[in-house]
């Protein structure tokens, strides 16, 4: 009997050990499911980080000096910075909605002194409120603003502030803005010795005299596509490089893709994220895109946020950040790809990301003054422009083209922006480095010419 019990006990002990063994090794989750050969990828920070305040700023400032005299200031110009800094220090409260036709804007433009901050295609108020102190109701906060106009009534010295909705029908007047008539006087004073501009249709201003710009040849450094790949993929160990027909590389892990173009100078990253069942929000997408760029590649110099237009339910929003060189936006000469960062986002998830891998050197190798034509020559070019009806803005820009052996050439030009957001060169800068004299092509009007424009003749010298 005792012997039997001993045997039984032994068998039971062995059996329990066996079962425990089987259980332990068949249980899911005990073995590591994903073995990564490379566990942690150090994020190489390529460019610097940015935040939203430095990416939203007006495309240009228009100073209305009264008596039909106007001038335009561009970003990073001394007076632009001084005026914009001061306006950013002010508060705008108590917004009242009204129709754009409630005020005769042509009259305000020509008679009243004032400053107009123009945001190109617009800025959502929610984002603008991070840059300028605003207090308004929800209706206002959900709108998109493309201009702010602050002016001083000629007769009464009363200061009025209007925010223009991008729908071009609505304006919001800030009835409690802490700007004084003296402030306006100071701002306008900054424009006293600047080139005069004359308004033409569609809120486009044309300089009466040639405008000075700079051509430059700048060296660059380039990040390797491998660096970018290591930075964008979770697990570089399972990422493959396949080459496309033209011989350049595509990296993919089966879900994400990274295509390298232009001999490794431009990348487009694609990650087909599924659409989520939450509402899309432009501000959230902008924050997400800035965070994404901060982590994946960073920023090279000044960039300006370009509003993608209202949310379209069928397509994700393409957010663009336009790069600046000096005071002017960079427009690449086709087919060269440079200067913009483009991201497609929905619900804060990045599905497309395109950017250059080049970083410009701090110092230009060559710099020279060039003159952009003004006056009649520009006016005529604009009037003759085939897609004049679609042109919504005219501004000086730098046309970037590659120059071989690691350099980029920037050449000044007048660029028009069309209603769909594309930029086209209207005319290049004048040849040579000499300022055209009045009466010469691209130069200002002759002093004694009577062009019917009252102020054209008396340009302060």
């Amino acid at each position: 009997m005792e012997k039997l019990k001993t045997w039984m006990l032994t068998i039971l002990v062995v059996l329990s050990l066996l079962q425990s063994y089987l259980l332990a090794y068949s249980m899911p989750g005990i073995g590591a499911t994903i073995s990564t050969t490379q566990d942690y990828v150090n994020t190489v920070l390529m460019g610097s980080e940015e935040n939203v305040e430095n990416l939203i700023f007006p495309e240009d400032l228009v100073l209305h000096m009264g008596e039909g005299r106007h001038t335009v200031l561009y970003p990073a110009m001394n007076f632009y910075d001084r005026i914009y800094e001061r306006i950013r220090g002010r508060e705008f409260k108590g917004f009242q909605r009204s129709s754009i036709s409630a005020v005769n804007w042509d009259e305000v433009r020509d008679l009243d002194q004032g400053v107009e901050l123009r945001f190109g295609r617009g800025v959502p108020v929610e984002l603008l409120s991070k840059v300028i102190k605003l207090e308004g109701d929800l209706l206002f906060l959900n709108d998109v603003i493309d201009r702010i106009w602050i002016f001083k009534k000629n007769e009464s010295n009363e200061v009025r502030t209007y925010f223009f909705s991008a729908d071009s029908n609505t304006v919001y007047e800030s009835v409690r803005a802490d700007l004084t008539a003296q402030d306006i006087g100071t701002y306008v004073g900054f424009g006293e010795y600047q080139t005069l501009y004359a308004p033409v249709e569609d809120e486009i201003y044309i300089p009466l005299e040639p405008v000075q710009s700079v051509e430059a040849v700048v060296g660059y450094r380039s990040y390797s596509a491998e660096q970018m790949q290591g930075n964008l993929f979770f697990d570089p160990a399972v990422t493959r490089a396949i080459s496309n027909r033209s011989g350049s590389q595509i990296y993919t892990d089966g879900k994400r893709g990274l295509q390298v173009d232009q001999n490794g100078k431009w990348i487009s990253y694609t990650d087909p994220v599924a659409r989520q069942e939450v509402e899309d929000n432009i501000s959230e997408n902008v924050y997400a895109s800035i965070g994404f760029i901060n982590q994946h590649g960073g920023w090279d110099g000044l960039h300006r946020f370009v509003y993608p237009g209202p949310i379209d339910s069928t397509q994700a929003q393409m957010i663009r950040y336009q790069q600046y060189y000096g005071n002017y936006p960079i427009v690449p000469k086709e087919p060269f790809l440079f200067g913009d960062m483009r991201l497609r986002l929905q619900q804060g998830a990045v599905s497309e990301y395109e950017r250059s891998l080049l970083t410009l050197e701090d110092r230009a190798e060559h710099k020279a003054v060039r003159w952009l034509p003004g006056g009649e020559m520009l006016e005529k070019a604009l009037a003759d422009y085939a897609r004049r009806g679609e042109a919504t803005a005219l501004y000086p820009a730098l046309i970037a083209s590659p120059q071989g052996d690691g350099r980029i050439q920037f050449e000044p030009a007048w660029v028009v922006r069309l209603t769909d957001g594309t930029q086209e060169v209207l005319m290049m800068a004048l040849k040579g480095h000499k300022k055209p004299l009045p009466g010469e092509p691209g130069g200002g009007p002759l002093m004694d010419s009577d062009k019917g424009n009252a102020s054209a003749g008396d340009i302060p010298k």
Partner: protein, 248 residues
């Protein structure tokens, strides 16, 4: 010490331990053997969200319980369906042969290249267009299709992706996530209220690059909805992808 009594107590104790372990082991084995799970096998949290959002599975559907080890596939595209023209058959053949592999090879084997590699998919086909996917290790490659155009129960034309697998040394086999776990984020975040899930299937899917001949496909769960929407879930990482191609 009363060794006899101690022995009896120990026997009793080990007997009970063995019973517990045995039950555990048995239920594990049973779970592993069954190829399908029911909706009830989704986590209680997921089930709660499904109830809240009114997401349903069609009746008779099964959620696959398999978790095989699969690797990414790299392949070269020889002919692309989307830019290839429709090949019209000289002699139309009966449509029903798609259901039988042998008859299919007999009927179209001389005309359509690699037809033995393609298997009919009932969920994506309709009576005008029969869809077959190229199989790899018994699983469909969702990006590699053969479309048979049918009229009056007869196949009259076809379009096809012809590919060739490329072996890479980098491919690593990884166990896939069970469908019940992979589907949780899809149900929580992506599916609209009232969505009805029609089918869940394991296969291969990847982002297609128009500029490249070589493509990569990763093991993916394909979730088809009654309204025709398709979601892919990367079967190793669990990320959710939509059908639309982004890259140009």
């Amino acid at each position: 010490m009363d060794w006899r009594r101690a022995k009896s107590v120990l026997i009793l104790a080990f007997l009970m331990l063995n019973l517990v372990l045995g039950y555990q082991l048995w239920s594990n084995i049973r779970e592993g053997l069954s190829t399908s799970a029911k909706a009830g096998d989704l986590s209680p949290e997921t089930l709660r969200i499904m109830e809240e959002k009114g997401i349903k599975l069609v009746e008779n559907i099964y959620i696959p319980a398999e978790t095989p080890e699969l690797q990414d596939l790299t392949y070269r595209v020889r002919t692309k369906l989307s830019d290839g023209e429709k090949h019209v058959l000289k002699e139309p053949v009966e449509s029903r042969i798609v259901f039988n592999e042998k008859q299919l090879i007999e009927g179209l084997g001389d005309i359509i290249p690699d037809i033995d590699q393609y298997v009919f998919d009932v969920t994506t086909s309709d009576d005008k267009k029969l869809i077959l996917y190229r199989m790899e290790q018994m699983r469909p490659m969702f990006d590699v299709k053969l479309e048979l155009y049918s009229e009056d129960q007869r196949i009259i034309a076809y379009r096809q992706d012809v590919i060739e697998l490329v072996s890479t040394e980098k491919a690593v086999e990884n166990p896939v996530l069970p469908a019940t776990i992979a589907m949780a984020p899809l149900i929580e975040k992506f599916l609209a209220s009232g969505a009805v899930i029609k089918e869940i299937k394991l296969g291969y899917h990847g982002q297609t690059f128009a500029k490249s001949d070589i493509q990569v496909s990763a093991p993916s769960w394909r979730v088809m909805l009654e309204d025709g929407n398709v979601y892919y879930i990367h079967a190793v990482s669990g990320e959710v992808v939509t059908e639309d191609e982004l890259s140009s």
